[in-house]
Every structure is written in structure tokens, then in C-alpha cells.
């Protein structure tokens, strides 16, 4: 028994020193804490209360895990139609519209590495995305989608608060944006449903469902947990210094 205990202790000590050394090594490559430019550590903006009883409080600055490939959290093959599969197989990474600083579309900005601020007011929820210094409006005043929508990058979003969650419906999307960096594309028949559910003091669960009969044989969903950020959003202007454009290997005309 003693021998076993002593071996265990020895193992513990060895493990402890390996882990500590590894931690120290990793940390050594990081700058001293508190060196950052102040833009990165500005205090959070004030949080107004949610605009009604039974409305989940989504106000605040949040960030989701960066998800460049939606197939990763799906943990299953994307249910492509033959056309959708062909489009994905033949996609050229250098054609990514966001590589040219074109808009992300309504959902890709959520799972980019950049935080976003949600502002809930009576009848509307506004998302201020750090990426591209960009915004999205979700009407929660009971209106329906307009009847004859022209397709746009962000489409038309209406939402309702049901059972403690916010459910959002988006249509009227052009086929120009990509769903992610990995090159998943869509048609102008794309119908997006999102559900926002608070799961803790500093988290909410975002579930997005993509339904597009041109690209997918059935709707498919991905869930990501947003966590509260410590600091305010910053400015991010994609065209500030996009040096990449002349170097892309792309099927697009040279710009």
C-alpha cells in the first residue's frame, strides 16, 4: 500500500513539473499582461434592461467561438444536394467574398473571431458587429416579412420572444455571401432560423438552421455558445489595408 502511495506521489510530482514547465513555456511567448493598447481594454458600454417582461436579456458585448468551418460543430456531413456538393467541391478559397471585404451576410459575423454588441429596444434588436463595423436589425414588433423582397446581403429579419427565447426568421438573401470561411455557399432561396436562449449569467446559446433546397436536401443546424466579453468592441474596417487582394488565387477578375 505504502509503495503504491509513494509511486503515486512520485508520479504526481513528475506530472506537476511537466505541466508547470509546459505552461511556463507557453506563457513565455506571450507579452506581459497589461501591455495592450487601450482600445483593447475599454470598459463595456452600459447595459439597459430588456424592454419588457418575459423578454430574455441579450444586451451586452458577446463573442462566439470562431468557427471557420460549420461542418466542425455539425459533427456530421452537410446534407448537400448534388449541386451543393459540386459547388463545395469546386469552390476556390480565393473567391471568398469576405476576402475582398464584401459583407459577411447575417450569420457569419456571429461566429467570426470578433465580438458583437446586442442592443435590445422595444420592437427591435440591433446587433453591432465589430467585424466590418457592421450592423444587423431584427424587428420584434410583430411585423411580417415584406411581400416582394429584393435579395440583399443581409436579407430581412423578424423575431419574436417565445418561451424565454428569441426566435429570428431571415429571408430575402442574395446568393453572394458565403456561410463560412471554408467555402459553404447558398442560393437566394436560403431561409435562416436562429434561436437565442440565455443559458447562464454570462452565456447564451445560439442555434442557427440553414434551409436551402438548392444547396441542401434538408435543413441543418449548428449551436454555438456566446460568452460575455470583458471589454468593449473595437473598430474593424476591412478595407483599411487589405493587402491580400492582388495575391488571391481566384476565379474572379483581377481587381
Amino acid at each position: 500500500m505504502m509503495a503504491v502511495l509513494s509511486t503515486e506521489r512520485k508520479m504526481t510530482r513528475i506530472l506537476l513539473s511537466i505541466v508547470t514547465a509546459f505552461g511556463a513555456l507557453c506563457c513565455a511567448s506571450l507579452p506581459a499582461f497589461g501591455q495592450a493598447g487601450e482600445n483593447a481594454t475599454l470598459p463595456l458600454p452600459p447595459n439597459p434592461p430588456p424592454p419588457g417582461k418575459g423578454i430574455p436579456d441579450l444586451n451586452g458585448v458577446w463573442v462566439m467561438p470562431y468557427t471557420p468551418d460549420l461542418a466542425r460543430p455539425l459533427k456530421a456531413p452537410i446534407p448537400f444536394t448534388p449541386f451543393g456538393a459540386e459547388m463545395f467541391k469546386n469552390h476556390v478559397g480565393g473567391d471568398d467574398p469576405h476576402g475582398f471585404c464584401q459583407p459577411t451576410g447575417p450569420t457569419r459575423a456571429f461566429h467570426s473571431p470578433f465580438p458583437f454588441q446586442i442592443v435590445q429596444t422595444a420592437g427591435m434588436l440591433t446587433v453591432l458587429f465589430e467585424i466590418d463595423h457592421n450592423f444587423r436589425r431584427i424587428f420584434t414588433d410583430g411585423r411580417s416579412h415584406p411581400k416582394d423582397l429584393d435579395s440583399t446581403w443581409y436579407g430581412d429579419s423578424v423575431g419574436s420572444y417565445e418561451g424565454g427565447s428569441l426566435t429570428v426568421d431571415t429571408i430575402g438573401l442574395s446568393d453572394r455571401s458565403w456561410l463560412d470561411t471554408a467555402g459553404h455557399q447558398h442560393s437566394d432561396k436560403l431561409h435562416i432560423t436562429e434561436k437565442f436562449t440565455r443559458t447562464g449569467p454570462d452565456t447564451f446559446l445560439w442555434t442557427v438552421t440553414y434551409d436551402d433546397p438548392v444547396y441542401f436536401t434538408r435543413p441543418w443546424s449548428v449551436s454555438l455558445t456566446a460568452r460575455r466579453e470583458k471589454y468593449d468592441i473595437m473598430e474593424m474596417i476591412c478595407m483599411d489595408n487589405n493587402q491580400d487582394i492582388p495575391h488571391y488565387i481566384t476565379s474572379q477578375p483581377k481587381r
Binding site: 505541466v19 483593447a40 478559397g93 476576402g99 471554408a182 473595437m234 474593424m236 476591412c238
Partner: protein, 134 residues
Amino acid sequence: MKIRSALAVGTACLIFAASPVSAHHSFAAEYDSSKPVEFKGVVTKLDWMNPHVYFYVDVKTDDGKTINWACEAGNPNALARRGWKKSSIKAGDEVTVKGFRAKDGTFTANARSIVLSDGRKVFAASSDDGGPLN
């Protein structure tokens, strides 16, 4: 308990060091993972700007010429959140850069490792962009 804290520190650092700093384009859109490059030279300019930090390095070749390499690093906002700032690299600094060359054959590189002459690693420029790990 001690093991747990040490594990937590180790894991936190690992996640921190590997946290993504780019979403702007995929690695393969521009760079060639079969063309690793390594060069040492003097920084001539730093653009601390979106969507990527760029810095330029004068590298002397064997035949006495000087090539100015354009090096792409991570996103300035993400780097700032990790404690870096634009003075982390300055014109005149000597740096060793390891990375991957642009597919178009220009002197453009995706910098995956940047080391100053005093041994300090800068920007820990790992990006979850589908490219090779550091």
C-alpha cells in the same frame, strides 16, 4: 489541487497561444503550405491595420541584393486583445520570420513565427485559417 491549477494554467496558455486571429480569408486562398520560407532581416515598416497586420523586412541575398518581404500577421484587434501593440515590432528591429510564401510567387509571406534578435517571440501569429500549424 496543485495539479489541477497547473493543468489549468498549461491548458489556458495552450488555448491562448493557439487562439485564432484571422477570419478574413482561408490560408489556401493566398499561401502555399508546400513553400515554407525562413528569412532574417531588418523591419522597414509596420502597418498595424485591419484586416491583417503587415510588416515589411529587408532581407539581403547572397548576391548582395536586398529583397523587401511583405509579411502578413494576425488581425490587430485580436492581437491587441492578447496584449500586443503596434510598438511590439518597430522599423529597425532585426527579426527572423518563418512562414509560407504566397502562391503567386511574389515576396509575400504568411508569418507563422516571428522572433526578435533578443529571442522574444512576437505576435504568436497562429491563425485558424486552414494553414499549417506553427
